[in-house]
Amino acid sequence: MIECPSCGRRQQPRLTCESCGAPLGADLDCFAAFALPRKLTIDSSALERAYHDLSRRIHPDRFAQSSARARDASLRSTALLTRSYRTLRDPVSRGLYWLELHGQKLAENNKAVPPDLATLVFEVQEELEELREARGADVQKLRERTLSRRALLEQKMATLQGDLAANFKRWDDGGEQAALTAELKSVLSRIAYLRTLIRDLDRELENLKAA
């Protein structure tokens, strides 16, 4: 039980006071911050609306003239809400957070390359090496190859995002936990790899532009 710093009402920890609506400054998990059920499928525009709506009510701007305790609670609750929004808004960080809630995490540093991506990773690294060393007319040609490679990677990423959404749905439908955890880990680790690859590509393309 915690006490509302604004009206003194004692209650279970939640974002805002059940009696006066002021922020309580309680420590909550990301779903509880939004008073959402623990479901992985989230409507992003509804989440944004809730974020704006709650921010409007608990933001420190609303408590500039209140007591030090109320201001402090507003600051902590808003920091929590912001963090929760950022975590839940992006499906990948939401998935990672879900693993954390279930006492799991991706393998340390995510070092083992997923087997089906190994060849791809190798090919991309080689292409980038060639791009780095290219001179003269080759540069343009290899740059275009890199651009079309990038488009392919984006496509693959879209597929993986679809896989992620499907996995989320199976969790929400009450699927078998061990299998879903393994699948979630595998999809997230693939996405992490693809993100790194795309970032590497972008970095090379930027360097090319700067040169």
């Binding site: 704006h52 921010s55 409007r56 933001h59 420190p60 701007d61 609303r62 500039a64 003239q65 007591s67 030090a68 305790r69 600051l75 902590r76 808003t78 920091a79 929590l80 912001t82 963090r83 929004y85 950022r86």
Partner: protein, 620 residues
Amino acid sequence: MSRILGIDLGTTNSLIAMMDNGVPRVIADPETGEALLESVVAIAPDGAVHVGRAAIELEPHLSREKDGRVSAVGFPGGEYGAVVRSVKRYMGLGGNEVAPEEQSRYTFADLSGPVVRFQIGKRAFTPPQISAEILAALKRRAERALGEPVERVVITVPAYFNDGQRQATKDAGRLAGLEVVRLVNEPTAASLAYGLNKMAEGNVAVYDLGGGTFDISILSIKEGVFEVLATNGDTHLGGDDIDHALVDWMLAELPDQVRSDRHVWNSARLVAEDAKKRLSEAGNVDLVLELPGYTIRKSLTRDQLEKFAQPLIKRSLDRCELALKDAQLRPAEVAAVVLVGGATRMPLVRRRVAELFGREPLCSLNPDEVVALGAAVQAGVLMGTQGDMLLLDVVPLSLGIETMGGVMERLIHRNTTIPTSVTENFTTAVDNQTHVDIHVLQGERELANDCRSLARFKLGPIEAQPAGLPRIAVTFLIDANGILNVSARDERTGREHSIDVKPSYGLTDEEIERMLEEAIDLGEQDLEQRLLIVARNDAEQILGALRKQLGEFADLIEPGECARLQAEAERLDAARKTSDRDLISKLVEELNELSTPFAGRIMDHAIKQALEKKSVEEVS
């Protein structure tokens, strides 16, 4: 409760504004009718201070006398008194961060310390002290115009200001006898001012090129919520730099010694600034600079000026592209572009910004006033008179800590919405280690050495335990001002840890207190104001300490005592928002007395615990 005003503390000009029946309005000087106050401060050898136009007249420069001779006039600096312009460029800077070409511009007292110090007369002045004079002048102006005391303000800062620069701005407010209720980012403030005019909803880019700083912010505006998506900038890029390039060009043929003379340099700067302004309208202008026995005549076309400005504007546009990338937007997805800052009057700036975003920028509000107007709107939000408007701003630079091997580990990424917090667990590396040193950094580079050192602090004392066993959770919280607050908790005992934070740059609380004391002889009214602030600080301190103790040592409270303490604390909390210093001081004393028995029990408890621990150690 007193009204909150909005202040734009600019590099070149400063303004103060207020909400007037739901409309923001700049408060002009009641005597002169001027809205802009030049951010120039002159300090005479005897300590007398002039701000604004009066200070500009005292800047070292060359003047033609009646007999036709050209002579050097004004305060040349150092022991003869000095005039400081663009002090904002020095806010939050360590001595070693002053650029070499700027070192000859003023007489610095010491460039090795954590704060820049200008040597003026017999005293050394820090940038917050000089900025405080500008703030105090605005405060006096508003008090004369409104006929009521001005105590609480919102001050704007460049969005790209780091933690130290923000802290320095807050310090300046405190030194001017003002409570800084909130720091607001300048581009965001500008968007609020435009937003009041019912700007189209959607994504908006604010391009803010002032005298000394550049900011770009990309916002999403939806139903009164102004959410900053990304911000970028350069706190040392502005219209000043164009003037300086022109000065170098004008004085190129002169020997070094003449060129670096402050009278010559400043006169040239005035000529350059004037030429730049005239070229916003004209196609070419003549520049005349009279030196003793020598006259420099040059002609400058707009094309030439644009060649000087080109590289600087390119730098700003690169920053815009980075901000767009962070916001994950293409230029075409930006629905409106707003221009802010005097330097955006240059036609070249307008052209290049229009090219980048593919649309004509908006500049219907005066670019010199729009930030102050926005500060007033935010003051209205804080007073609760601005309905449903809400600003969600971001932290401009990543925050992290130094880890093994001098690597920067990011804990809070740039462009994260504030307020935000992150908690990190720390432990010990060797057995019986009593302290953990933490080095907090700000910046985007991989190596700690390449980032800006923000603060160092020591966690502890930690109970003697085997390595890796202690678990100390450190929370890094960035508040709505974009300023870092650190707290630590022992995860085992749940006890709050005291942290001794040593800021790498800037002033310590003790230094500010000392400056306030030093300034006390400045006048009766100032004295009253400053004493009030001291009393309020005392109140805040005792309230904070009591709140912490009530939470931590709830089991040491006697029946009924808690309610009595809380009632008294509430009275003090209410009183400290008034200007009744005697009442605040009286209640601080009463609360102190009332809480003495409780404090005594806490002390006994601590001693008992220490003894118990000792006897256990002796046995084992």
